[in-house]
Assembly symmetry: C2
Homo-oligomer: 132 residues x 2
């Protein structure tokens, strides 16, 4: 309950790994996968997604790989989570509107209050705090 997905987990591991290296130096998906025993293909997809989101930069070809692109201080955990996994909320009704409950539901307002607290909390934490 209230769990992160592997995708996010692998992303954090990879970022932390990249951050520990000399600036500008590239790391490949294979290298990270072997270092931490992660499924390479799945990790690669996660890295590709982060590249699309401009968090990291991808370099193709042999001796290619990935390196950190953004300033991780400026990315909140909330934004990071949402880039990888979509809207952050304790319950779907926060952004879905196809809930069958409609009028009957009696917890929508309190749930949104919890959501706000969560989003607020993750807004205040930067990605660097986690990766450094």
């Amino acid at each position: 309950m209230l769990k992160l997905t592997r995708k996010v987990e692998y992303a954090l591991i990879a970022l932390r790994h990249m951050q520990a290296m000399k600036p500008g130096k590239l790391t490949s998906a294979k290298e990270i996968a072997e270092a931490y025993g992660l499924p390479q293909q799945l990790l690669a997809k996660t890295l590709q997604q982060m590249a699309r989101d401009r968090i990291i930069e991808a370099v193709q070809g042999p001796s290619g790989g990935y390196r950190i692109l953004s300033n991780l201080d400026k990315i909140s955990l909330k934004d990071f989570f949402e880039k990888l996994e979509g809207p952050l909320g304790i319950m779907d009704c926060y952004f879905d509107s196809d809930c069958v409950q409609i009028g009957a539901c009696n917890i929508r307002v309190p749930i949104q209050r919890i959501n706000e607290n969560m989003r607020n909390m993750f807004s205040k934490m930067s990605l660097r705090e986690v990766t450094q």
Copy 2:
């Protein structure tokens, strides 16, 4: 991602329903299920669990049902979630130790920092804040 389960959702709906009634009055699982269009048996199990946890009280026999037992001000959301779903944490490594990573993992410490923040946040919110 970072979602509540239905069990918790149903529990909150039920609590809120009971709280809106005259003190001491009983409500049945059937009544709540019909009012909010929830699966009765699953809701019943959730109510039974809350009864075991002494959050609500169960009365058997016809004209039986459930009613609030605890002072909801004194139950934190953290305790409530953990009673229903077990330890609250963004990742299993917080309480599991059978993670294959063992030494290799490089995000255990930062993850635990996030966990602490989450637990702290939910410790500060009472169940009543959500149900009132």
